[in-house]
């Protein structure tokens, strides 16, 4: 199973932090969340952000006991965090603004936020979710159905029927550690799921409308390649009156792997268990079933001045496999299946071999968890998806010619890994 995701966050007046909307994810634990602060409450953005950040760091096993986890751990923490941030905020202002904020505090008393959080449990083959309020989860299946979930209705729609009615009233998490309404907790099998989308209601209303008009509208969102594309979409929709709220979206694309990886396949994995620390003198050894010439494992590699179009570098090497990753620290962002690796390898003309593999290993999962929504937005899988099959085709044979001219002497003195990779995949 391969997962790709994109995230978009935009405040109603163009704020990049999403204003009262928030999102967070943990790509290692496959936890994803969006939250929408309730406008008529006091600093709802504190509640929304706290919900997303706390959720993204939980142990996914809490899904099995969500109600008690929520009552005993999550909501009290929300209360504590919100109160602390409010006190800090009030201490930082003075004059008329302080007076006005005190009015607002007395008037609203609490902050409030909706929430939608999911865990993709690959081991059990399920998507588990917890939702309160009108932030919505959309599940698209391979047979063309769209399921729509939030806590505001008992209807679970399919194919555009029984659509959720987005109104001005909502259930929510309250900053005093209570709920209005109750958690909607459920799970669905991951089999046949093609897309998962979490959205706050500003986006969900638009998506629902477009879904009814155009069943393939999830592809509209998936085709967005950058934050600018999303901003343009939002601007156009706001001008046409189709959107008028903060927007937070996470879209996840799922793709199953049919091919069983063989020993020569390269895998990029977001976990660390396959990462081997290699000595500074890189030893590359291959095990090619074709029986082609192998590089001697004793050969040292010099002259590493090659950079591929995708900046792929070797992460680690063992006797069976070369583990690759992109210089942009791909492991934080996605898993690639073996077909994807092949495609990337084909378009590599040259690869820079990094002698200091330990540098790569410094990336830890804590780095992932510290990622803020704005950081996430700067790195989307669109960056990765810039490589299309046409790109691959442009470079493959030309590079193949180049590579074929290399000799064993060159391999000793320099490094053209691509020909080795080519040999692995017999292209």
């Amino acid at each position: 199973m391969a997962l790709y995701f994109k995230t978009f966050l935009l405040g109603k007046d163009g704020e990049e932090d999403g204003r009262q909307d928030a999102l967070a994810l943990n790509s290692e634990k496959l936890l994803f969340a969006v939250a929408d602060g309730v406008s008529n409450s006091f600093h709802p953005e504190f509640v929304a952000q706290a919900l997303c950040e706390l959720f993204s760091s939980i142990d996914p096993s809490y899904f099995d006991t969500w109600d008690s986890f929520s009552a005993e751990i999550l909501l009290p923490q929300i209360h504590e965090i919100w109160l602390k941030q409010i006190n800090e905020h009030l201490a930082s202002i003075s004059g008329r603004i302080l007076r006005h904020e005190q009015y607002n505090y007395e008037r609203w008393k609490y902050g409030a936020s909706t929430f939608c959080g999911i865990h993709i449990d690959l081991n059990k083959g399920k998507v588990k979710f917890v939702i309160i309020g009108d932030s919505t989860l959309f599940i698209s299946t391979t047979d063309g159905k769209i399921l729509e979930f939030n806590s505001m209705t008992d209807n679970i729609s399919g194919c555009g029927t029984d659509l959720i009615n987005y109104t001005n009233t909502t259930e929510a998490v309250i900053s005093d550690g209570s709920l209005v309404g109750k958690w909607f907790i459920n799970e669905i099998p991951i089999e046949n799921v093609s897309y998962i989308a979490l959205m706050t209601d500003g986006m969900a209303k638009w998506y629902q409308k477009h879904q009814a008009d155009n069943p393939n509208s999830e592809s509209i969102l998936w085709k967005l390649q950058s934050k600018e594309d999303f901003n343009n979409l939002a601007e156009n929709c706001r001008r046409d009156g189709e959107m008028d709220d903060d927007l937070a979206v996470i879209i996840i694309k799922l793709s199953s792997i049919d091919k069983t990886p063989n020993t020569c396949d390269c895998i990029i994995n977001s976990t660390k268990e396959n990462t081997n620390i290699v000595d500074n003198d890189i030893i590359i050894s291959l095990d090619s079933k074709s029986g082609e010439t192998m590089v001697s494992p004793d050969d040292n590699v010099d002259n590493h001045d090659i950079v591929s179009s995708l900046d792929i570098q070797i992460e680690s090497v063992d006797s069976k496999n070369i583990h690759l990753k992109e210089k942009k620290d791909l492991s934080k962002e996605r898993l690639l299946d073996s077909d994807e690796i092949e495609d990337h390898a084909l378009c590599v003309s040259k690869v820079e071999v990094n002698r200091n593999i330990s540098d790569i290993n410094e990336t830890t999962s804590s780095d992932i968890n510290e990622t803020t929504p704005s950081d996430i937005n700067e790195t989307t899988s669109s960056d990765i998806n810039e490589t299309t099959s046409s790109d691959i085709n442009e470079s493959t044979f030309e590079n193949a010619k180049e590579i074929d001219s290399s000799t064993s002497t060159d391999i000793k003195s320099g490094c053209f890994i691509s020909d080795i990779i080519k040999k692995i995949f017999k292209k």
């Binding site: 109603k12 309730v38 406008s39 008529n40 409450s41 202002i93 008329r96 603004i97 007076r99 006005h100 904020e101 009015y103 607002n104 008037r107 609203w108 008393k109 609490y110 409030a112 001005n168 009233t169 909502t170 259930e171 929510a172 309250i174 209005v180 008028d244």
Partner: protein, 273 residues
């Protein structure tokens, strides 16, 4: 559905306070207390326009004084309001020694006519800019009843009622102008108070106020009830013989924010964005 368009920076609301400046308002310190209430109410309303330290132009305020004449006591958006509040740290919105000095009679008809004129100008201005217009709100604070020189009491009431009806008939897509009449007493217990009657009072003066006031929709009734105000189906936006200034402040806030009153249980009503 009417009265759904909330005040917002893209479609600001228009709020007009009509303040009686007849001579009797000087008695029992009424005008000073009303001026103080207006300051606090406007301060509170403007607080809601603040978002992360930045004030949004969510409404436009006009305060019009009246006796035999009308006086433009204040006109401006949120920025102007903030400047005014900062300048009037004595918490008096109206300069009761100058243009706000109480004197003369209660020509309520010209107050309603002036409000209608200002609203029509506002609508035309917003329409020219293709800006949607939330239904304007007019709140009339008076200690008396229509009284015009050269007219009988009945004639004065009829003239004022005619002007009130004309004001209430001004319509935008969001709904008709809402007119809320608040009658105050200087001394508690002078006469029994009345809040949001659903049936026309038999008293002629109170009957006039009832006739001149907008009827509350079911949504408004619900909003009032959530704030422990005694409204029922068929209630009008009318109160009389209010002497407690805290109650006056509550009523003015209620009337001013009728287009969006949230509940602490996070049920978003019509949101103020």
């Amino acid at each position: 559905m009417a009265y759904e368009l909330a005040w917002g920076s893209k479609h600001p609301g228009l709020l007009i306070y009509l303040v009686d400046l007849s001579g009797s308002m000087a008695w029992d310190d009424k005008i000073r207390r009303v001026s103080n209430v207006v300051w606090h109410v406007v301060d509170c309303l403007t607080a809601s326009c603040q978002d992360k330290g930045e004030y949004k132009e969510r409404y436009y305020l006009k305060v019009i004084g009246y006796n035999q004449y009308t006086y433009d006591l204040f006109s401006g958006g949120v920025d102007d309001i903030n400047k005014w509040l900062d300048e009037h740290v004595d918490e008096q919105f109206i300069n009761i020694e100058k243009e706000g000095k109480p004197q003369g009679l209660t020509h309520m008809s010209i107050a309603y006519e002036k409000a209608a004129d200002e609203i029509n100008k506002w609508i035309a201005k917003q329409n020219a800019k293709n800006i949607l217009v939330p239904a304007p709100i007019v709140i009339n604070i008076t200690d008396g009843y229509p009284e015009e020189k050269g007219l009988t009491e009945q004639q004065s009431r009829d003239k004022a009622l005619s002007a009130a009806n004309a004001l209430r008939s001004i319509s935008v897509p969001d709904g008709n102008v809402l007119l809320f009449n608040i009658h105050i007493d200087g001394i508690a217990g002078k006469e029994e108070g009345m809040m949001f009657p659903a049936a026309r009072p038999s008293d002629q003066r109170k009957g006039f106020l009832f006739d001149a006031s907008s009827e509350m929709t079911s949504t408004f009734v619900l909003s009032a009830q959530r704030q422990n105000l005694p409204a029922t189906t068929g209630s009008r936006f009318m109160v009389s013989n209010i002497s407690d200034m805290r109650v006056l402040a509550r009523l003015v806030v209620f009337g001013s924010t009728i287009s969006g009153i949230p509940n602490v249980d996070s049920r978003k009503e019509i949101p103020i964005d």
